[in-house]
């Protein structure tokens, strides 16, 4: 079994939150549609329940774009959204992003968060088989994200090892 085979599910979510959040402003800034967004106090339905949100949230999830079981690929996708990695050419009509454009997007995000009093969090989800090795996020990435400032969270766990069934004779 390879390491990817031992990963049962992985993805990265990136969220911006705060009482003054206006979802369309974040979408315009990051130029990517959210998986979900709402403003504070505006009711929404998830399907089976109706929520009255206590704060505004805009969030993006990489599992909408990739079914890869490689957490590095999901992290790279999230970094493209934030602007830490240059956006590749997605179609002939949309030119690839230049280095300066990418840097200016990161700077604009940091300024936006500060001006609006919002927080940004990048969260790496990983669930592996019982013997799988947990991902290690490089310190360079976490250190750089904190400068923007973006908090980084990890949500790692493995399947439980199945306990052997006790025979009647042993009981």
């Amino acid at each position: 079994m390879t390491k990817s085979d031992q990963t049962l599910k992985t993805f990265v979510t990136f969220r911006i939150a705060g009482d003054g959040l206006v979802p369309d402003e974040v979408t315009e800034l990051l130029k990517v549609p959210p998986a979900h967004a709402h403003a504070k106090g505006v009711r929404y339905s998830t399907g089976r329940v109706e929520i009255l949100p206590t704060t505004g949230v805009w969030f993006f999830s990489t599992d909408r774009l990739s079914i890869s079981k490689n957490w590095v690929e999901h992290l790279a996708l999230a970094l493209v959204v934030i602007g830490l990695v240059q956006r590749p050419q997605l179609s002939p009509s949309l030119p690839a992003e230049g280095e300066l454009e990418s840097v200016s997007r990161v700077l604009a995000l940091g300024r936006f968060l500060q001006q609006k009093g919002l927080t940004a969090t990048l969260s790496v989800f990983w669930h592996g088989a019982p013997q799988a090795t947990e991902p290690q996020i490089p310190n360079q990435i976490t250190d750089f994200l904190r400068l923007i400032p973006i908090q980084i969270e990890t949500d790692f766990d493995r399947d439980e090892v199945a306990s052997p069934r006790r025979s009647r004779a042993a009981a």
Partner: protein, 66 residues
Amino acid sequence: MIWDKRRNPTKHVSDALGIDRWQLRTAIHKIKARNNLGPVDRIIIHSDGKATDTNGNEIGDIYDEI
């Protein structure tokens, strides 16, 4: 209520909901993200799949996320 601990739910919780544990954890992660909660924040999972925060407010549903 089938889970109210701070740590990740065990297999018996996903079994009670009829889903795999990775699916349950995926759903919880997204419910928390939608509510600006992190992995260490405690939520309560109910036997019908609904999730509430520690104040009893509904914050999502496991089955809506899978």
